[in-house]
């Protein structure tokens, strides 16, 4: 029946159908068989056309994301003079020199060891010809852009994983208490530490990751207790998540308003918006590590993860332990959003919004959704970073979380108006 490449298999199918026509089954209407062969040809042509559409969407968004990333790297770099206000803008040529130097110092030595010893010499030469601090500023922003891209990816994919597991378009990890746990961690850090992330990044990470993870674990543990066994009921998890989130909200509000003095609250707010965290090397390293641990397995399992949307029985009969897979998806999603919020601030809305758009643009298959979410999540978060660059009120920059929240409203209105006919 199957021979050689696709086209020959197709021809043999036609021949076989014609043969079947001759040995007619008593209940088989003849017209159906003829309909098979004719429409198979049509379907083949349609398939090629529609596959092209998806590919076009992916290419368009890929290019857009790359352009946005380049844009965020090349935004005007503003030096800071001693008065604290904006200084001169560095010309683009100098910025490119910085990148060239960075390449010489970090990437080139991997291929040619002899260049390694020239590091300090090159840096000294560079500082003589260019303004002081420019190299650090440029490389910092390059790293920050990379981390933001990674976090955008993780946020969007976490939303996708949760919405597929819960079969509910409103599910996000923050519904299980991740963002409120992180806020509680920020409160604890503002109390224990000096409130400055760059001085004590280890403690910051410990508090934030610890409390965020603890919130999710508590919700899962309680929902397991209620279901009375090893089965996790989706509805119970959502309900308990809502309740625990509210509890954490209450505790946070209580501490913020009745226990903290004003100075500590200011510190806490800065910590919560995680402005410093993005530039701290330890935080960056941890985010990169979490990215490797979570996104790579999701990428490798991208076909199997389709099955988390189906019932456990169906999955089992297709040879997959759906319960385990779904649990894995939830753990990965929660960790992804936790890492993103710890590095960038309260940006949990993106997990809700981006999968909506991708569900409209691309087919429901997890592989396509994964790709679409990565691209659009990165693009959107980078756009927010670019906006933040210009959103200066006095000398205070509006935090990314606030920008994301404000941007989400028109974004959501647009996305939902797009998919108008599909929502029941």
């Amino acid at each position: 029946m199957v021979s050689g490449n696709k086209d020959r298999g197709y021809v043999s199918r036609i021949i076989e159908s014609a043969r079947a026509l001759r040995e007619r089954d008593a209940f088989e209407p003849a017209s159906r068989m003829v309909g098979d062969t004719i429409s198979a040809a049509r379907a083949k042509a349609e398939t090629r056309a529609q596959g092209k559409d998806t590919r076009r969407v992916v290419i368009a968004f890929g290019l857009a994301t790359a352009f946005i990333a380049l844009l965020s790297l090349c935004l005007p770099y503003r030096g800071i003079d001693t008065m604290g206000s904006g200084g001169t803008i560095y010309p683009l040529g100098d910025v490119l020199d910085c990148y060239r130097l960075w390449f010489d110092l970090t990437i080139a030595p991997l291929f040619d060891n002899t260049l390694y010893n020239l590091t300090t010499l090159k840096l000294a030469q560079f500082s003589q010809t260019h303004e002081g601090g420019m190299y650090t500023m440029v490389t910092n922003r390059a790293m920050a852009t990379a981390i933001v891209a990674v976090c955008g990816m993780m946020l969007a994919v976490s939303g996708l994983l949760f919405q597929a597991s819960f079969r509910n378009p409103l599910a996000t990890p923050s519904m299980l208490g991740v963002s409120d746990g992180v806020t509680l961690g920020c409160i604890v850090f503002a109390w224990l530490g000096n409130g400055s992330i760059s001085e004590d990044p280890g403690l910051y990470l410990l508090c934030v990751y610890g409390f965020g993870a603890a919130a999710v674990v508590v919700v899962l543990f309680l929902s397991r207790g209620i279901s009375g066994g090893a089965r996790y009921n989706v509805f119970d998890m959502l309900l308990l998540g809502t309740v625990i989130t509210q509890l954490l909200n209450g505790v946070n509000a209580f501490v913020q308003n009745f226990v903290m003095d004003y100075g500590t609250w200011q510190l806490f707010y800065n910590v919560q918006q995680a402005g410093d965290a993005l530039h701290d090397p330890l935080v960056q390293g941890v985010v990169a590590g979490v990215f490797v641990i979570t996104v790579v397995p999701a990428l490798m399992l991208r076909f199997r993860l389709n099955l988390i949307a189906f019932s456990n029985d169906e999955g089992r009969m297709m040879g997959v332990r759906s319960g385990l897979l779904r649990g894995l998806a939830l753990v990965l999603g929660a960790t992804m959003q936790l890492a993103a919020i710890a590095s960038i601030g309260q940006v949990a809305m993106l997990s809700l919004a981006v999968p909506f758009l991708v569900r409209y643009l691309m087919p429901s298959d997890f592989r396509s959704q994964f790709l679409g979410n990565c691209l659009i999540g990165t693009a959107l978060l980078l756009v927010c970073m670019i906006i933040q660059h210009f959103a200066l009120i006095g000398i205070i920059t509006v935090p990314v979380g606030t920008i994301v929240s404000i941007l989400i409203i028109p974004f959501f209105v647009w996305v939902i108006a797009l998919g108008r006919g599909r929502w029941s």
């Binding site: 308990l240 309740v243 209580f254 226990v259 707010y269 404000i406």
Partner: protein, 414 residues
């Protein structure tokens, strides 16, 4: 063909499936549920009375032991206060009594709203704050604090303390409109904010649904707007109070946890209590439609319910109730969620009994929480009811829920 013998089924104490072999049993069960509603009502009333009678005496006399003799003392003390009010003086009795009444009524309004939203959206996760009403209230209060405080008549000698006599004289000198603004200005702004946000959410949803309101979209927009407004308020709080704008700190702090920072007088009966009671009566009259809605949109429509119009009316009235309750009594909207689930556990899913029960449960619960927040625990102030509610509520919920351990999924939604 042998027919199976019809043995009448034994009635268990609660039959969650609501199926009965004979109408006799159905009527019996309905009476049982009505009885349960009454029990809730009586319990709520008792709680309110206790909350009214006890704290005054305890705080005034620092009395922690409660013996029968003390009970009579307390009653006598209260009757004294009542007498002094009736004879024309003001005093603590008025404030105390009105505080308890406003508290109970607000709790009742919020409980009712919670159950109504759960019915109107057919979703057990719906709560009064779903449509962004709380965020709207906070937004209105923020605008008032930032922009409108200088508007209208100002109390003379602000910055220095003035005597009560001077303050009273100044208030008496205001004409009615000015008096209204001075007393209720911030609350009115808060209410306006509530209506603004809910109005935007509903308008957007209807625009997109071309007249039809979709459950999921409404909840999404509510969440999104609430999140955005909360982020903006936090930022404003940070921005406007850094380097020296410290005098606004307390006010901005209270915006998010705006609770019971007023003293209440008898005229508040007209301003706060009456509108809420009217709204509650209207909602209670329409409760049978909610039961029909819970069968699903299409089935309800085929039974003669205009689904869209019912939803809009319910939302409008509930928003009015919630806006008044929140603006005057504080951000305790989570109470609505808790009391909705509690009443459902007590009385069952039929809205004919569920809505009255949630009124009573909500009122009693908020009174209890207000009492707890005033009871002198460390770090609490009398103004912490919203926060205490968010902390105590979940534990209460878990207690009720964990009692159902092993019976599978919560409730009978899915």
């Amino acid at each position: 063909m042998a027919a199976k013998s019809d043995k009448p089924r034994r009635i268990k104490a609660r039959n969650p499936a609501n199926t009965y072999a004979t109408s006799e049993q159905a009527r019996h069960s309905a009476r049982a549920e009505a009885r349960r509603v009454l029990v809730c009502g009586v319990a709520a009333l008792v709680l309110v009375l206790l909350a009214w009678i006890l704290p005054t005496y305890m705080f005034e006399h620092s009395m922690m032991r409660f013996t029968p003799a003390v009970f009579f003392d307390v009653m006598a003390y209260n009757l004294d206060g009542l007498a002094s009010v009736l004879t024309g003086g003001g005093g603590w009795f008025e404030n105390r009594f009105m505080a308890v009444v406003v508290c109970a009524i607000s709790g009742a309004a919020l409980g009712l709203t919670g159950s109504t939203y759960q019915g109107a959206f057919n979703n057990p996760l719906a709560a009064p704050k779903t449509l962004g009403v709380m965020a709207g209230g906070a937004l209105g209060a923020l605008i008032f604090v930032l922009l409108l405080q200088g508007v209208g008549p100002q109390m003379p000698g602000s910055g220095t303390s003035i005597t009560k006599g001077q303050a009273d004289a100044w208030i008496a000198s205001l004409d009615p409109l000015e008096w209204f603004w001075v007393n209720y200005g911030e609350c009115l702004c808060s209410m306006a904010g509530c209506f603004l946000v809910v109005g935007i959410v509903i308008a957007l949803t209807s625009l997109i649904g071309r007249g039809r309101m979709s459950n999921i979209i409404v909840i999404i927009f509510g969440q999104v707007f609430a999140g955005t407004i909360t982020a903006i308020i936090s930022f404003c709080r940070y921005y406007f109070t850094r380097d020296g704008g410290i005098d606004m700190v307390d006010q901005l702090r209270e915006i998010e946890n705006y609770t019971m920072i007023r003293t209440y007088y008898f005229h508040d009966l007209l301003v706060i209590v009456a509108p809420i009671v009217v709204c509650m009566v209207v909602v209670l009259l329409l409760r049978n439609r909610l039961t029909l809605l819970s069968f699903g949109e299409h089935e309800a429509a085929s039974m003669g319910v205009n689904v869209n119009r019912t939803r809009y009316i319910m939302i409008a009235i509930c928003t009015l109730m919630t806006a008044i309750a929140i603006s005057f009594a504080g951000h305790v909207a989570f109470l609505g969620f808790i009391s909705a689930h509690l009443s459902r556990r007590i009385v069952g899913p039929d809205f004919k009994y569920l809505l009255p029960a949630s009124v009573f449960v909500g009122g009693g619960l908020l009174t209890l929480i207000q009492y707890l927040s005033q009871s002198g625990l460390p770090y609490t102030s009398p103004y912490a009811a919203g926060v205490i509610c968010s902390i105590v509520g979940p534990f209460l919920f878990l207690l009720v829920v964990l009692k159902q351990r092993g019976k599978g999924s919560l409730g009978e939604w899915k």
